[in-house]
């Protein structure tokens, strides 16, 4: 992976010429072994979740054997507490976790980035209001806040996504605001102000593209947390309701017989674990690439 031309970070005064543009964040991250390992793990779990429903031998709600039967022919991982095929339920149960986590992350990081850039650029009273409101939200642990709302209003999927998403907003906003503050000081922002570019356009065109590294890292990190939270809330019975197949729910339903029939718990647990480790490795790779650790003079 050394074909791409790159130049060491030019110190002010060093012409970075002749050898082409410094490579993009993604490509730089892909050089790192940890990023590639993370991609493999994530792709594996994503593959199971996306293609699983097509490959499942049984319907997730069909009763095929006695409850908690061990592995048998046509049922390699045995049956669950109601006698349904564990493999089929596992293959069907990933999509919901992933979908909910992705939606929550999109909401959280999207709003967080918006608020962060606006607060970092406009400063003043607006900044104070946004950041102090964020501090109040931060005071509640993510899981406790989610439990509170879900137990008052009821286990609705939109609420689950919203609660997890909103809990990400102040964290993302804080990181993006810091990144924005550094960019705002640079002269190209002043150049845009001097010719009277509209403020909204400055934020979208000058600031946002220059905080994208921080944003990419934040996206990965929040996705990791979302997966854990969504699976955790599913386990507590506040996510999807029976008889839907869902990894979090599966762990909860089958944990009483974990000594008799471990597969029904082990499969979803390892999938969630692999996915979080995978996304975390990717995030770590992005973070390292964005600050330029391990960058040398390549040709």
């Amino acid at each position: 992976m050394t074909e791409t031309a790159t130049v060491p970070t030019p110190a002010p005064g060093t012409p970075a010429t002749g050898a082409g543009r410094r490579e993009g964040l993604l490509r730089a991250a892909l050089r790192l072994r940890r990023t590639r390992a993370g991609l493999v793990l994530t792709a594996l779990v994503l593959g199971v979740a996306l293609l699983g429903p097509l490959l499942a031998p049984h319907s997730p709600t069909e009763f095929v054997a006695a409850p908690f039967s061990g592995p048998a022919d046509g049922m390699p991982f045995g049956s669950d507490q109601l006698g349904r095929d564990v493999l089929s339920r596992f293959l069907h149960g990933g999509l919901t976790v992933l979908g909910l986590a992705a939606a929550a992350t999109a909401i959280g990081v999207g709003f967080g980035a918006l608020l962060g850039v606006v607060a970092g650029y406009r400063r003043g009273v607006l900044d104070e209001i946004v950041m102090r409101t964020g501090d109040v939200v931060l005071a509640f642990p993510q899981l406790v806040a989610a439990l509170l709302f879900l137990s008052i209003i009821g286990p609705k999927l939109w609420l689950l996504v919203l609660v997890v998403g909103v809990s990400h907003v102040p964290r993302t906003a804080r990181v993006v605001r810091e990144a924005t503050l550094k960019v705002v000081e640079q002269d190209f922002v002043k150049a845009a102000e001097a010719i009277g570019v509209r403020r909204a356009k400055i934020m979208a065109g000058e600031l946002l593209p220059n905080v994208s590294s921080a944003l990419a890292v934040e996206l990965g990190l929040r996705l990791t947390y979302s997966i854990g939270l969504v699976a955790g809330l599913g386990f507590l019975g506040l996510g999807l309701q029976p008889p839907t197949a869902d990894w979090g729910l599966m762990i909860n339903e089958n944990r009483i017989a974990v000594t008799v029939q471990a597969w029904a718990v082990a499969l979803p647990v390892s999938a969630v674990a692999l996915l979080t480790v995978g996304t975390n490795l990717i995030t770590d790779g992005l973070a390292r690439a964005s600050i330029g650790i391990d960058r040398g003079v390549r040709s």
């Binding site: 050394t2 031309a5 130049v7 060491p8 030019p10 002010p12 005064g13 060093t14 012409p15 970075a16 010429t17 002749g18 050898a19 082409g20 543009r21 410094r22 640079q186 002269d187 190209f188 002043k190 150049a191 845009a192 102000e193 001097a194 010719i195 009277g196 570019v197 065109g205 000058e206 593209p209 220059n210 994208s212 960058r295 040398g296 003079v297 390549r298 040709s299």
Partner: protein
């Protein structure tokens, strides 16, 4: 080896990792006791890498591949790490470019000076008192107070010049044999620069230490060095005594570097070097300077020239070490009668940051088609004034008139037409261009805002780049694919594309090499002469003023202390401050670059 040789470098090669690209190669140097070697070259020539290698240090991503660095008889590259560590400070010391980042802001200067002593001075009895005395002694030597009160200060309580003198004191406190100074006066005012240079010279003499003085500015090096080594693209292309090299440079690159220095008398034309130094990854075969050399021929591109000794101790890497291009007399500037209608008038302007008044009672007029220089050192308020004019610093009292019409204070309150007519070019080209946009987008952005939709955007971009002397095919590049000089030209093209009447240039050459600075000044003169553009040229460099402007206003502590036609102010300065500025600027006229020395 004779006992008088302090530094002997042989076959030194530093490579980048992991590509093994040669950053510095085939370097041989010797330096006697008490001598100062000036190491000169543009950015990217490998001077700093070489300077650090003299301390057996390689930056992250680089490594010293082969060769020897012998200081006082010991090859630092073969010593065990622990001994190298002890040799640093005692045998070889380093003074970095930016004192502000070299001093630890959380420690008192006394503590930092004593730290340098601990590693070097004898660890025997009465170290405490001796250390204290040594700190006071060295502070006196660099002309700083030695009072306990001063020793207890933190770096931020000192001025830039004082910080740099502390850095010098830190280097000399361990009585090293060799001092490496990496552009120690870049970013300092001329007066401070002169004091720092004097201090360095006096300290080297006093301690009998040898020095390696790294700089891109021939004028500074000429004043301090006994010997010169000119670096280009990782190689020393010319080396010899300062006298010999300055009197008769034999390498075309050296000659061009000398001609790029602005002439304080403005009689000789300052000529830049076109193009830029190649990156270590893309060095041409043959002589690396050939693509930029007017005298290059086929054999220059074919083979790497070996060093040739032209006279005793004067070596050149050139296949035909011959006579350099002659200096040309400067073309006279457009006469500034000042009679034209003023484009811009500033009346009774005062501005403040919080409670500190940074500008007061400023009166300034820019006549149409002429260049007014605003001359001042850092902290004089010149950037605040230029930002107020362009609407980036709205908190001021007084009036700014464009063609007799008062401008609103903030840029957002001005009309599109007013914003279009006054354009601003920023000091640091590395921060003035959005790294995520191509040159084309950068140039078109302001045009779309100020002139609306244009019929033929490609033509606008092509025309703007051409006026800024840039090739049209750069339009698709991103800023990090451009050199510093090219970036500054893009910033100028961006301003020109909107069709301004007045260009405000805020120290636009101060972060560029001297060779690049000259070509930017050429460009501005051309714009003024050909297009009748009015300029407000903000600078701290008095020699540039002479070469570019018809009028000058000297700013000191927020007040204009003297103003008038450049010719008059330079020949008969009224104000003592103006006189001290003129006196402190290095008067650089090497025999070779003197007009009358030739036919």
């Amino acid at each position: 080896m004779s006992g008088d040789v302090v530094l002997d470098v042989a076959g030194l090669r530093v490579v980048g990792l992991p590509s093994k690209a040669e950053i510095v190669t085939e370097v041989d140097l010797t330096l006697g006791r008490g001598e100062v070697l000036g190491l000169v070259g543009e950015s990217g020539s490998g001077k700093t890498t070489l300077g650090l290698a003299l301390l057996a240090h390689a930056k992250r991503g680089t490594s010293i591949a082969s060769g020897s660095v012998t200081v006082c008889g010991r090859d630092l590259l073969t010593l065990p790490a622990e001994e190298v560590r002890r040799a640093r400070g005692r045998t070889v010391a380093y003074i970095p470019q930016s004192p502000a980042s070299a001093l630890n802001p959380a420690l008192r200067i006394g503590t930092q000076l004593r730290e340098c002593l601990n590693g070097s001075a004898s660890r025997e009895a009465h170290r405490e008192e001796e250390g204290e005395e040594r700190v006071q002694e060295v502070l006196r030597e660099v002309a700083l107070p030695d009072t306990p009160d001063f020793i207890r200060r933190y770096p931020h309580q000192l001025s830039g010049g004082q910080q740099q003198r502390i850095a010098i004191a830190m280097a000399f406190i361990g009585r090293p044999e060799l001092i490496v100074l990496d552009e120690p006066t870049t970013g300092l005012d001329v007066t401070t620069q002169r004091h720092v240079l004097e201090t360095v010279r006096r300290m080297c003499e006093g301690y009998g230490a040898s020095g390696v003085y790294i700089s891109h500015d021939m004028a500074v090096v000429a004043g301090i060095a006994d010997r010169l080594a000119v670096m280009y693209s990782g190689r020393v292309v010319e080396a010899g005594t300062a006298e010999a090299v300055l009197a008769a440079p034999r390498h075309p690159y050296t000659a061009r570097l000398l001609l790029a220095v602005p002439d304080l008398a403005a009689e000789r034309e300052m000529t830049g070097i076109p193009g830029h130094a190649p990156s270590p990854l893309a060095r041409p075969g043959g002589c690396a300077f050939a693509p930029r050399c007017e005298l290059a021929e086929d054999r220059c591109r074919a083979e790497q020239p070996a060093p040739v000794e032209v006279t005793v101790g004067h070596t050149v890497r050139c296949v035909k070490p011959g006579s350099p291009p002659a200096p040309r007399p400067a073309t006279p500037l457009r006469a500034g009668d000042g009679g034209g209608a003023p484009v811009l008038e500033v009346r009774g302007l005062s501005a403040r940051y919080g409670r500190t008044e940074v500008l007061s009672g400023i009166e300034l007029t820019v006549p149409a088609g002429e260049c007014v220089a605003l001359l001042g050192e850092s902290g004089s308020g010149k950037t605040t004034l230029s930002r107020a004019i362009v609407g980036l610093h709205p908190e001021f009292d007084g009036e700014i008139l464009l063609d007799g019409e008062a401008l609103a204070h903030g840029s957002y309150r001005r009309t599109e037409e007013q914003r279009r007519r006054v354009q601003y070019v920023f000091q640091n080209p590395y921060e003035a261009l959005n790294p995520r946009k191509t040159v084309r987008e950068l140039v078109l952005g302001p045009v779309r805002v100020l002139r609306g939709r244009v019929a033929d955007p490609d033509a606008v971009v092509r025309d703007a780049l051409e006026r800024a002397s840039l090739r049209g095919d750069l339009a698709g590049r991103y800023p990090d694919q451009l050199s510093g000089g090219e970036r500054q030209r893009v910033a100028i093209a961006r301003a020109l594309a909107t069709g301004p009447d007045l260009l405000i240039c805020d120290e636009i050459t101060s972060s560029l090499d001297v060779s690049v600075q000259s070509s930017i000044v050429e460009l501005l003169r051309e714009l003024q002469r050909r297009d009748g553009l009015s300029l407000l040229f903000v600078t701290h460099d008095i020699a540039l003023v002479r070469n570019l402007a018809q009028h000058v206003a000297v700013l000191e502590d927020g007040r204009i202390v003297e103003s008038g036609p450049v010719e008059r102010v330079f020949t008969t300065p009224d104000h003592p401050y103006t006189r001290s500025l003129i006196d402190d600027t290095p008067h650089f006229t090497p025999a070779f670059a003197r007009l009358d020395s030739r036919d």
